[in-house]
């Protein structure tokens, strides 16, 4: 008897293709993503890509140039020559991890065997990579200058370009709140969008179509609902983070509101887009789980984006999560002016607009088609 019931349950289970995808394919994809992110893949065949470090040679002597060339031969890092102002700006905006500055007098210091005027300016939000760079450079100096740390007291001065302070959030907190809030928002919004399918099954959608209402308005109204809920949910998450963890949400409240609006628009359009691609609730459930988890994984909600390999960081830009999280870093960590954040907000709006346009076409084809 037990075997009969078991056999029936297995038959039903394996007849659900979406269920099988969630059970087998999704974990496989997640394992692959995490393996790449944590660097456990392809070690024997190809070494990991070097971490890019900007280098500014203000000394411009043979000694400094020779050392830069030698340091560049280390496989773990790749030095890119830059000007100081530009390098500092790129690090401050989170586009590079660190800038190594050779101050004037470097060659004299080497000759005189005094403290070396070298400074490593970095983005503390990328602490994990910064530690690797710092360690590698220090070892490089010791090796190539032929000196031993303990005797010659070689110091590599490190300076965080963005100082932590009581008015600023810790990057870990920004990552945790921003990443999680956007991922959970995607799930909520997919559920709201699914309301359209409920209406289709219940027959209320048909009644809406019978009324003198344009089909597009039905879609836009649903998107509007999703957007209101998104704004409320994101706001509630940040207020909670302020109350519970001291996240300074009033630091740049105008930019924060604008960013929440942009994220809400992008996420809401993503919700209606998801719904428009399917015909039943069951299809939506399977598809939204897979897409949201994948998007959150590659977009930086699960693993900080800077811990991922370069190719994954390139893929990340297709996700709403990436632009949202980067936006939160700009506000809470990098403290960029609004004008510097506008491109990211613009991309979120463009993602939203694009998905809304596609949704309107698919909505007519998949949702409102009466049979």
């Amino acid at each position: 008897m037990i075997f009969t019931i078991l056999r029936k349950d297995l038959r039903l289970y394996f007849s659900d293709k979406k269920g099988i995808l969630v059970t087998f394919l999704l974990p496989i994809i997640m394992i692959t993503l995490f393996a790449f992110a944590f660097g456990g893949v392809g070690k024997k065949k190809s070494p990991p890509k070097p971490l890019k470090v900007l280098v500014v040679d203000k000394d411009a002597t043979t000694a400094s140039q020779e050392l830069i060339a030698k340091l560049n031969s280390i496989k773990t890092i790749q030095l890119i020559t830059s000007e100081e102002e530009k390098a500092v700006d790129l690090v401050r905006k989170g586009k590079n991890i660190a800038a190594l500055i050779f101050e004037k007098g470097f060659s004299d210091a080497v000759a005189a065997d005094t403290d070396l005027p070298i400074e490593l300016k970095y983005d503390a939000a990328r602490d994990f990579q910064m530690r690797i760079i710092h360690s590698v450079l220090k070892e490089g100096f010791k090796y190539h200058l032929g000196k031993v740390d303990v005797i010659n007291n070689i110091k590599l001065k490190t300076t965080s370009l963005i100082k932590e302070s009581s008015t600023k959030a810790h990057p870990g907190l920004v990552q945790a709140v921003g990443g999680t809030a956007i991922m959970m928002l995607l799930f909520s919004i997919a559920a709201i969008g699914g309301g359209l399918l409920d209406e289709k099954e219940a027959g209320t959608l048909k009644r809406l179509l019978i009324a003198p209402v344009k089909p597009l308005y039905i879609l836009l109204a649903k998107m509007g609902t999703a957007m209101v809920v998104s704004i409320l949910q994101l706001s509630a998450m940040f207020v909670f983070a302020w109350l519970a963890f001291g996240l300074p949400i009033f630091m740049d409240v105008f930019s924060l509101i604008l960013l929440i609006l942009c994220i809400s628009f992008a996420v809401s359009s993503f919700g209606v887009f998801l719904v428009s691609t399917v015909k039943t609730r069951q299809q939506l459930q399977g598809m939204s789980t897979i897409i949201i988890i994948l998007m959150s994984a590659i977009g930086g909600s699960m693993i900080p984006i800077n811990m991922m390999p370069a190719f994954m960081q390139k893929i990340a830009i297709i996700s709403v999560n990436y632009w949202g999280i980067e936006g939160f870093f700009d506000i809470f960590w990098r403290q960029l002016p609004l004008i510097a954040m506008l491109p990211k907000m613009g991309i979120l709006l463009a993602i939203g607009l694009g998905m809304t346009l596609v949704s309107t076409v698919l909505f007519k084809k998949n949702i409102i088609a009466i049979e």
């Binding site: 219940a202 027959g203 209320t204 048909k206 009644r207 019978i210 003198p212 209402v213 009466i370």
Partner: protein
């Protein structure tokens, strides 16, 4: 009021509606009778302007429904087959929402909700959530939601499916009241009793085609079958049969103690008197009326509920 001409619609390889034409007069109740899958709902969906036809035209109050869909939507009210209401809203909130979609001013809408709830007998339950209603009550609110904008024509797609006889009667009364007020009603069903009770004219539809249309008496004339009465006697001898055949020339068949007489119910007393004169003891009488079920069977060789 409505002219449907050469209407066709197919879904992939299935011809759901195949070149049908009919006219509905102002103020009549027009029945669209057919089994499940006959094409009734597809026809109604096209008439409701939410489904485009492959061929043919529909004119509602003189307006082409495809070219003037917005105006037509104001002329018609539609009661869908599904209970198209929000279960977690009250009856009043549902009606307020559906009425609002037609742009009815708030004050007028509230008055109309009151009178409509009164008409369907649910005014005292207006604040209750739909999910607390019985199936019959939900069906009544489903009708009410289609009446708020005062349509000239009401399309009702199997509005009594799955409800108890009492609620069904209540709905019939509402339909009759609306019709008396001048509303044209198009009623689809596969229950021939409903059509017989409500409809002035009927179109019988099967496999996407209209196989007959007209008033009930016109439809009855289409078939050869006549009304008959079957008598069962306690005992019936051969001589009794001969005597009866002499006195009642429309006696057509005899089987053991049963006798089939082709006559109308009006002639029943005359037949009984004859039987009494012959001292025949009647055990049972069965009336075989020529109804729409019989007409459908005669025309298609199928039962309506097949």
């Amino acid at each position: 009021m409505i002219q449907v001409q050469n209407l066709s619609k197919s879904f992939q390889n299935i011809q759901a509606v195949n070149d049908i034409s009919f006219t509905i007069k102002k103020g009549e109740i027009f029945g669209l009778l057919g089994p499940n899958g006959a094409g009734k709902s597809t026809t109604l969906n096209m008439m409701s302007t939410i489904l485009k036809s492959d061929a043919g035209t529909i004119h509602i109050d003189g307006k082409n429904s495809r070219e003037n869909s917005k105006e037509c939507k104001h002329l018609i009210g539609v009661v869908p087959q599904e209970i198209s209401l929000y279960e977690d809203l009250s009856a009043y909130q549902n009606l307020l929402f559906w009425g609002d979609l037609y742009g009815i001013p708030s004050k007028i809408l509230k008055e109309r909700i009151h009178t409509t709830l009164e008409l369907i007998g649910l005014l005292d339950r207006k604040k209750d959530l739909i999910k607390t209603y019985s199936g019959g009550m939900k069906r009544r609110i489903n009708i009410a939601a289609a009446l708020l904008h005062h349509p000239k024509i009401l399309f009702m797609d199997e509005p009594t499916v799955g409800i108890d006889p009492q609620s069904r009667n209540h709905i019939f009364e509402v339909i009759e009241t609306l019709n008396k007020q001048g509303m044209t009603i198009v009623y689809t069903t596969h229950y021939m009793e409903e059509v017989e009770r409500l409809c002035d004219r009927i179109a019988i539809i099967d496999s996407g085609k209209i196989i007959a249309q007209g008033t009930q008496s016109q439809l009855k004339e289409l078939v050869q079958t006549k009304e008959s009465i079957q008598f069962e006697f306690n005992f019936l001898s051969e001589s009794n049969v001969d005597q009866l055949r002499e006195l009642l020339p429309y006696t057509v068949a005899q089987n053991e103690n049963k006798l089939l007489v082709e006559t109308t119910v009006q002639e029943l007393s005359k037949v009984i008197t004859t039987c009494n004169e012959l001292q025949l003891s009647i055990k049972d009488i069965q009336l075989n009326k020529v109804n729409l079920e019989a007409i459908f069977l005669n025309l298609t060789g199928k039962q309506l509920r097949d």
